[in-house]
């Protein structure tokens, strides 16, 4: 009892083949789309790799690029098969490889689903990478004279302005590191000496943030220095002050930026998966309808098409039996060898 059997006459077969050919073209374009999204994602990660300690994993974009390219190849093949299916002489050469091709398509669809899941799941490792990278980045903010780190200040400033964020978790992260280079500190002044002697590591710490944390929407000019000291500024209370500097942490901002991107890509990959599954089913119908012609000589005869020859359960037990038979075949060979050995000796 076949699964989802449909009767096909010539007209219906031709229409199926034409529609499927068109859908294969759409699938090729979808494959190109997936490829370009993988490329875009890779470039975005590369752009901010300094903030991730150059440690970020490019696994997901690489898989997207590979899957996109594979989609183009498989769909081009499928389209050719559909095109040839209208001509029975050309279709003969495809008959033998059609079943393995369909099994390939099935595995490819599983791969697509796995890719989509990975897109959604990548948020978590990314969060850890960003936390680590931002912490180190802030540490090297002042090292504008150290080769290899001299652009960290600029990168962080531009990032804080672009993503409207301040610090790692929030602006207080800047209070815990020395972000003013020693080159610009007057070590003979009392204030500097006090601050340095006030902590164990001898760092110049202060309750101030860089200018890139300032929020342009604030009604008052930006207060960057002595943020926690209410008396240092007129009419200022840092507990109620909301618009002065960005409240959000940069890790949050970057994770939601990349997370949004990955969610969109994941949803698109799922849509492409649905498209791929439908063309695979269509190709199976083409295959079965062309191989069950009532009168093989007459191309206009009726035929039947189905997805599976037997029901799902029976097909499954068939496959298990085949695998067992293959396994037993090996054992029987070994047994025969042993007997041969024993009989000889």
């Amino acid at each position: 009892m076949a699964l989802m059997k449909i009767k096909f006459d010539l007209k219906k077969r031709v229409k199926l083949a034409q529609m499927l050919w068109l859908m294969y073209w759409f699938s090729i374009m979808a494959g190109v789309l997936v490829f370009s999204m993988g490329l875009f994602f890779k470039i975005e990660l590369r752009k901010r790799s300094e903030l991730m300690d150059n440690n970020e994993s490019h696994f997901v974009p690489n898989i997207l690029i590979g899957v996109g390219l594979l989609a183009c190849c498989l769909n081009a093949c499928g389209g050719k098969i559909c095109y040839d299916s209208l001509d029975s002489t050309k279709f003969v050469k495809w008959k033998s490889i059609l079943k393995p091709f369909l099994i390939c398509c099935l595995f490819y669809n599983f791969l697509l689903i796995v890719t989509a899941m990975m897109c959604f799941a990548m948020r978590i490792p990314l969060e850890f990478t960003l936390a680590e990278g931002l912490k180190n980045g802030m540490k090297y903010y002042k090292d504008t004279d150290t080769p290899g780190r001299c652009y960290m200040k600029r990168t962080l400033d531009l990032m804080q302005m672009e993503f409207r964020c301040c610090g790692n978790n929030n602006y207080k992260d800047w209070f815990e590191i020395q972000w003013v280079s020693n080159r610009y500190l007057d070590f003979s002044s009392k204030e500097v000496k006090d601050r340095i002697s006030s902590n164990v590591d001898g760092k110049y710490l202060m309750d101030a943030v860089p200018f890139s944390c300032c929020n342009p929407s604030s009604p008052r000019p930006c207060i960057q220095q002595q943020i926690t000291n209410n008396s240092a500024h007129y009419s200022y209370e840092h507990y109620t002050e909301e618009l002065n500097i960005w409240k959000r942490g940069c890790r949050d901002a970057l994770v939601s930026y990349y997370g949004g991107m990955m969610n969109t890509i994941g949803i698109l990959v799922l849509i492409v998966t649905l498209l791929q599954i439908s063309v695979m089913i269509g190709l199976q119908y083409v295959n079965t309808s062309l191989s069950t012609l009532v009168n093989p000589e007459d191309p206009e005869s009726e035929s039947e098409g189905w997805i599976l020859e037997k029901t799902v359960k029976e097909t499954f037990t068939d496959i298990m039996a085949k695998m067992k038979a293959m396994g037993k075949g090996n054992q029987v060979d070994e047994g025969a060898n042993e007997e041969a050995v024993t009989t000889v000796s």
Binding site: C150, K153, Y184, S189, F211, P219
Partner: protein, 352 residues
């Protein structure tokens, strides 16, 4: 004496019509692109309209949009005429339509050149408009509590950050304006009282700039206040300090941005203009060549095509004569409305 006469055998006519039909499709896309570029330029000008005083410069994108749309229509017409020209029975219906069509199209296409010239000619006007707009923006920077001006601060800050500029001409423009609102000044402190007393208008002026002037590429944390006081900061000399703040003025930054945009759009508009003129000239040739065929029995005869039937001077004189005749008709129409009253009176005495 005909202007630029060319002989057209049948095959050449057919090929001209086909080539022109294809070219009209290309020109239609080109016209659509011109329209799109006009829209883009207009949105870019509109985005910064808060720091612009006058809207004179908007004529350039308006012209581009109008001509772009019109050229799409012109090219659709031209394509239709080409299609019909291959069938001598259908072509005559275009006879009355084509001469005014040509005048109209040439006029519209020349507007493209006008737009290009204007985009250079209006540069001083743009600069003046930006000068006044930015001056006002900087003056009203502190008025974040005045309705209608409360977003000036945010606009100017974002502008300075995006275009990497500071002030109108340079950063010193901020020294001449009170950009800190009086709400945040402690008028009991000596420092504030000194500064307010030091100038005639009682403004709180200081040698400091807003944070949006800070340059992220500077190796040291941004120095915003006491900019002219070398002793206020360690290892600082304001005369040699280059990277601390943005050196460019916002007026110059915006003018070069818009000029860059228009210089990019310029070649595309020029290409569209040349394409359109080519189509109009070829269409004229096709029209005059086909006119020789109308009424003839053998459609495949050789005909002549030209741009003007007589020389340029003679054509101008003829057009003037035609215009005069039209005006005379209008006047005669008025005169004949007056004369019928006098005639019956003249008849009466004779019969009496």
């Amino acid at each position: 004496m005909v202007l630029l006469k060319i002989k057209f055998p049948f095959q050449k006519r057919v090929r001209l019509a086909q080539g022109l039909w294809l070219l009209s499709w290309v020109a239609m896309f080109s016209g659509a692109i011109t329209f799109a570029m006009g829209v883009f330029l207009k949105t870019e000008l509109h985005r910064r309209s808060e720091v612009m005083h006058s809207m004179d410069i908007h004529i350039v994108p308006n012209l581009l949009m109008a001509v772009g749309l019109a050229s799409v229509g012109i090219n659709i017409c031209a394509g239709k005429v080409c299609q019909d020209s291959l069938d001598p029975t259908r072509f005559p219906r275009w006879k009355m339509f084509l001469p005014p069509f040509f005048c109209f199209s040439v006029f519209l296409t020349s507007l493209l050149l006008v737009a290009m010239i204007l985009s250079f000619a209006l540069q001083p006007s743009l600069e003046e408009s930006l000068k006044i707009g930015l001056k006002n923006g900087i003056r009203f920077y502190k008025d974040t509590d005045t309705p209608g001006r409360c977003f000036q601060k945010e606009t100017i800050d974002r502008l300075q950050i995006e275009f990497q500029c500071c002030g109108n001409t340079n950063y010193r423009d901020w020294f001449e304006v009170q950009w800190i609102s009086s709400r945040y000044l402690d008028f009991t402190s000596k420092e504030v009282k000194d500064r307010v007393r030091s100038n005639v208008d009682g403004r709180y002026l200081l040698d400091g700039v807003p944070f949006s002037c800070c340059n992220p590429a500077s190796p040291r944390p941004c120095i915003q206040y006491s900019l002219l006081d070398n002793s206020a900061h360690y290892n600082y000399e304001y005369q040699s300090e280059e990277l601390n703040l943005y050196n460019r003025g916002c007026r110059q930054a915006l003018v070069s941005y818009y000029m860059g945009l228009m210089n990019t759009i310029g070649p595309c508009v020029l290409f569209d203009f040349l394409l359109q003129m080519t189509i109009l000239v070829s269409l004229r040739y096709l029209q005059t060549a086909m006119e020789g065929v109308i009424g003839q029995e053998n459609v495949e005869i050789e005909t002549e095509g030209y741009i003007l039937e007589k020389g340029v001077k003679e054509t101008l004189l003829e057009t003037k004569e035609k215009m005069k005749k039209l005006l005379q008709f209008a006047r005669v129409g008025d005169a004949s409305a007056v004369t019928p009253d006098t005639e019956p009176e003249a008849d009466k005495p004779a019969t009496a």
